[in-house]
């Protein structure tokens, strides 16, 4: 119990109020789950916090490159994390192709329900990071 409290204090100065609240919630759930392996439960916390933040710029760039290639966009057309696939001229078939291209590039499998909720580059990058971390975990 003592080590738990210590970790939550060390996190507070680095993050905003919102993340502090998140870590607080996590702590509660950990206490409920099991007190048998304290150190084991504590370690994944920073990793989980990182996932809840925005995806890494490299991932966003990679996804942008795939989108650009798949839609055959000219080089002067800007593609950023906020770009919507529909605004870039992609129809639903293009979106399927983009998701398939992402699957191959990152070596992951995107479930159908998730694949249909992706509308922006940022959505795709966030999902990629989530699936990649699940795969490595």
């Amino acid at each position: 119990m003592a080590s738990m409290a210590g970790s939550s204090i060390s996190m507070q100065p680095r993050h905003t109020l919102a993340t502090t609240r998140v870590s607080g919630l996590k702590l509660v759930s950990f206490m409920n789950q099991g007190r048998s392996s304290l150190s084991f439960n504590l370690r994944p916390m920073p990793a989980r916090l990182r996932i809840s933040c925005a995806a890494k710029p490299e991932t966003v760039d990679k996804v942008c490159a795939i989108v650009r290639k798949q839609l055959a966009l000219p080089n002067d057309k800007p593609v950023t994390g906020d770009s919507k696939f529909a605004d870039l001229g992609a129809d639903s078939l293009d979106t399927v192709e983009i998701v398939m291209g992402i699957e191959e590039e990152f070596g992951i499998a995107v479930e159908e329900d998730n694949a249909q909720s992706i509308t922006t580059v940022q959505d795709a990058a966030d999902l990629v990071e989530k699936l990649c971390s699940e795969k490595s975990a």
């Binding site: 129809d91 192709e97 249909q116 509308t119």
Partner: protein, 98 residues
């Protein structure tokens, strides 16, 4: 279910997209050359139908879905090497193929 934001897809649209995904997945298991050919035929076919078929023509879309599923099952078999398409509207091409 998943599409809470953006355009809402109908059940039929989801089935079509799922079939398209199935074809692209099946194409992955084929050798590179065949794969490229399959992908271009499948993509052209879906796009052609998406433009030509009236979106309210449910019976025809359902028929195309059933036909597509059968074709996908055949494509999935390891014996199937690739696809070929016949352009029925122009009789000259058809003769050249057969």
């Amino acid at each position: 279910m998943g599409a809470s934001k953006g355009q809402k897809l109908s059940g039929l649209q989801k089935q079509v997209l799922s079939l398209y995904r199935g074809f692209l997945r099946a194409a992955r298991s084929k050798p590179c050359e065949d794969r490229c050919q399959i992908e271009s035929i499948v993509s052209a076919e879906f796009r052609r139908n998406s433009k030509q078929v009236d979106r309210k023509n449910f019976f025809y879309i359902e028929y195309l879905l059933r036909r597509g599923k059968k074709q996908l099952d055949q494509l999935k078999s390891p014996d199937t090497m690739g696809l070929s398409s016949l352009n029925v509207s122009s009789s000259q091409k058809q003769n050249a193929k057969t």
